[in-house]
């Protein structure tokens, strides 16, 4: 239908500009609140001078820099704001706020049933879940109004906790079709380049070449499935990747290989949300931040040490520290 699509085309950049303006204007007074509870923690990295995320009273030059940062960050982050998710009328995620800028790895931990996978699936656009409040912006764009495949093509990747099997469709053909969907219409993916890249990534992940001719996930062992998810991540080169318990089911060697694979993909262009139960993975993929999710909300955020502390003290401790978010 050309008519609504056209209006959407115009509406999007317009709204984008408007919200951008509003943002920059609001930058001064938001700055303090920006690092309140429920927001990403304030601790800046020493290397990260550009990010003046400091809760001290900002001086004038800092504000200016922050303005620029906000403008910049706004376009280069996955921004989840006060998200509420329900399934069959039952609320599972209850006011979750989280920002994952590109270039950072954020670990998300939390007890079984706390809503981590639900969050991941909603980000990817799963039809079974209803977003009852809040919004999600990917590079400033309203993610929630896009179809799942559009989100994927614009740079969102989800490594599933339980990947589906696609009988009869080989990994090679599947990934080829996925990449083909990203090139402009009428253009054909270069086959030799494609296979060269595929083999290179498989080698990186220690996968045997015979996997290319096996049907996607069909008859794969648990660990093989997880590895195949990371292979797809490596091939599709998204801007944001949500890895849902990619470490579960991996043996110690596989864990190292997969972690090595993920680390090799880390860089300024990729933001990662790493869902895991185990501190062990974080030894290999060292996160920039760790968030603890309980009952559909982030109850604690911190640097990588938080994971260690959590392991020691457990979720009850994390829950105790929970403070109602500063605002919704």
């Amino acid at each position: 239908m050309p008519v609504p699509r056209l209006s959407r085309c115009l509406w999007r950049p317009m709204r984008f500009c408007l919200s951008l303006l509003a943002r920059v204007q609001a930058a001064n007074w938001t700055l303090g609140l920006y690092h309140g509870v429920g927001r990403n923690p304030p601790a800046p990295r020493s290397s990260d001078t550009k990010r003046a995320r400091d809760s001290r009273e900002p001086n004038r030059s800092q504000i200016c820099r922050s303005d620029v940062y906000l403008l910049f960050a706004f376009m280069n982050e996955l921004n989840i704001e006060n998200l509420h998710i329900a399934v069959n009328g039952q609320e599972i995620v209850r006011g979750l706020t989280l920002r994952v800028p590109r270039g950072e790895v954020h670990a998300l931990m939390g007890p079984n049933g706390s809503g981590k996978s639900t969050l991941a699936k909603v980000l990817a656009g799963h039809p079974d879940y209803q977003v009852t409040a809040g919004r999600v912006l990917m590079d400033g764009e309203n993610l929630l109004e896009l179809e799942p495949d559009e989100r994927a093509r614009r740079g969102l990747f989800l490594a599933f906790q339980y990947p589906s099997e696609i009988p009869g469709v080989t990994i090679a053909n599947f990934l080829r079709a996925a990449l083909q969907s990203r090139v402009p219409e009428g253009e054909e993916l270069e086959a030799t380049d494609y296979y060269a890249k595929l083999y290179e990534k498989m080698e990186l992940l220690g996968m045997d070449r015979s996997f290319t001719s096996r049907a996607v996930n069909e008859g794969f062992s648990g660990g093989e499935k997880k590895r195949a998810e990371i292979l797809q991540l490596a091939m599709l080169e998204p801007k944001y990747a949500v890895l849902d318990e990619t470490d579960s089911g991996l043996d110690i060697d596989a864990l190292k290989t997969v972690a090595h694979g993920v680390n090799s993909l880390r860089g300024p262009d990729l933001g990662i949300l790493l869902i895991t139960h185990y501190q062990r993975l974080l030894n290999y993929i060292v996160p920039d931040y760790v968030h603890v999710m309980v009952g559909g909300r982030i109850v604690r955020s911190g640097r990588k040490e938080l994971a260690l502390e959590l392991e020691e003290r457990g979720y009850d401790w994390a829950r105790e520290g929970a403070v109602e978010p500063a605002f919704r």
């Binding site: 495949d149 599947f174 079709a177 996925a178």
Partner: protein, 469 residues
């Protein structure tokens, strides 16, 4: 519109067009002895064919519609409204230049002349009732291979033609074989001499252009001892508002040690009743293989069969049926074992989309006195939506000792999770579905000739695009 270069250009975007009719011969609507005589007169039938037709008509009128086991939808065919014979009144041409412009245009749009140049050993093109073009490569003709229309076959090669015509499929086999026997026109006659192996496929293309029309081609292929031939047929028709009838009879005869491979990819418009009888006879050590892909049509009833009459004869049916919304693919296979050590193989895959319905009917018959016969039957159904439907009716009678039969059937459904998974990788819903459908038929399609598997894949994609919002 530029035509593409693939084996069977029969996607609907290409097939759904028609040019104004310019028929010189028209038997009018309705079926009576007069109609049958008119056809005989126009075609200058020899007496035995005239008689054959009249017997066909009598049997057709006597036999009831098989609605006690088949679809009630058959009752929607109004036999009095159908036109049974339409032809431009010209001879079959040997070169495209001589084919009347308006008809040539149709086939050029479907890409037939181009494919002929590229990879076919011979082509026959039928427009409504008659073959308008038929030609085979010189080298193939020089080996003694005959490839002509059925009318020409029965006139110019009566010794071979008459010997086998109506023998594999008798007039009274079923109501529609009787109908075909009464009004048949067009189709191919092929004879391959002993020991000759025709390397490239021979192709026939059947085109319905007229509304309210019935196409009744009749094909007879005889592969003499030790010879080999592959025949491919493609079919299209534009979408009219009234039902169109396609009711062919195809008889194959593979003499001792011969091999016949018969490939069909048809993509009928959704108003076509496609009721076709296909049967092959395999003598000692001979092989008959049907590759049958049914896409489109309102109702297809087709059960390619092989009678294995000689020792060590082999029969095979590989079929794919795709039933979209409002369509019913009632297909299957029959394997009649009539000699020792005969083997047969049936692999059937059906896909039902939306409210589409696929039915598999299989018959395997091994009588008690036979030894060391084998049959393998696999039928798999894929349901795309929860409203899709599939039914399986296998009838396997295997008696005697040392005869082995293996039967596997499965029904699977494309789950919402699978589609979501594929969408998460960037594929649209339609792409995701066509990928899973292609995955479902993949191991079967791999056994098809290249040109056909590529074309089939494309057809499935088109079909899935049309079926998703």
């Amino acid at each position: 519109m530029k035509t593409e270069t693939s084996a069977v250009n029969i996607d609907r975007s290409k097939g759904d067009f028609f040019y104004p009719e310019a028929h010189v011969r028209d038997a009018g609507a309705g079926l009576s002895e007069r109609t049958v005589r008119y056809i005989s007169d126009v075609k200058e039938d020899p007496d035995w064919v005239r008689e054959f037709r009249l017997r066909g008509l009598k049997t057709f009128l006597e036999k009831p519609l098989p609605t006690h086991w088949a679809s009630k939808d058959l009752e929607a065919i109004d036999f009095d409204k159908i036109r049974y014979y339409l032809s431009p009144g010209t001879e079959t041409k040997r070169s495209w230049e001589e084919v009347p412009d308006d008809i040539k245009r149709t086939f050029e749009r479907l890409g037939i002349p181009e494919q002929e140049r590229k990879f076919l050993a011979g082509v026959e093109a039928q427009f409504d009732s008659e073959a308008v073009y038929s030609n085979i490569k010189k080298a193939v003709g020089e080996q003694g291979v005959i490839f002509v229309g059925s009318t020409e076959g029965l006139k110019n090669y009566p010794e071979i033609f008459r010997k086998w015509f109506g023998k594999v499929i008798p007039i009274a086999d079923n109501k529609f074989s009787a109908l075909n026997s009464a009004v048949f026109s067009g189709g191919s006659f092929i004879y391959v001499p002993p020991g000759v192996k025709v390397k490239h496929p021979l192709q026939a293309y059947f085109r319905i252009n007229a509304e309210n029309f019935g196409q009744f081609e009749r094909t007879l292929i005889i592969a003499d001892e030790g010879s080999e031939v592959t025949y491919m047929e493609g079919c299209t028709a534009p979408k009219f508002n009234t039902p169109t009838l396609h009711s062919a009879v195809v008889e194959l005869v593979a003499l001792k040690g011969a091999k016949i491979q018969y490939i069909t990819v048809q993509n009928w418009a959704s108003n076509v009743f496609n009721l076709v009888t296909k049967r092959g006879l395999a003598q000692e050590n001979a092989e008959v293989k049907w590759i049958d892909c049914n896409i489109g049509s309102r109702l297809t009833m087709k059960y390619p069969s092989v009678i294995m009459k000689g020792r060590k004869a082999r029969g095979e049916v590989l079929s794919i049926a795709l039933a979209n919304d409002g369509q019913h693919q009632d297909t299957g296979a029959k394997m009649i074992h009539a000699a020792d050590e005969t083997t047969s193989n049936i692999i059937s895959k059906s896909i039902s989309i939306g409210k589409g319905r696929a039915t598999y009917r299989g018959l395997v018959h091994v009588p008690k006195h036979l030894k060391n016969c084998k049959n393998n039957t696999e039928c798999d159904a894929l349901l795309i939506n929860s409203t899709s439907r599939t039914d399986t009716y296998p009838a396997i009678t295997v008696r005697g000792t040392g005869n082995a039969v293996q039967h596997e059937a499965s029904v699977s459904q494309v789950s919402a999770e699978q589609i979501f998974y594929m969408q998460q990788r960037g594929l649209s819903e339609a792409q995701a579905m066509s990928l899973s459908v292609n995955g479902f038929v993949n191991d079967l399609v791999r056994q098809f000739p290249m040109e056909y598997s590529v074309e089939l894949k494309r057809l499935i994609e088109l079909e899935m695009e049309g079926s998703v919002g």
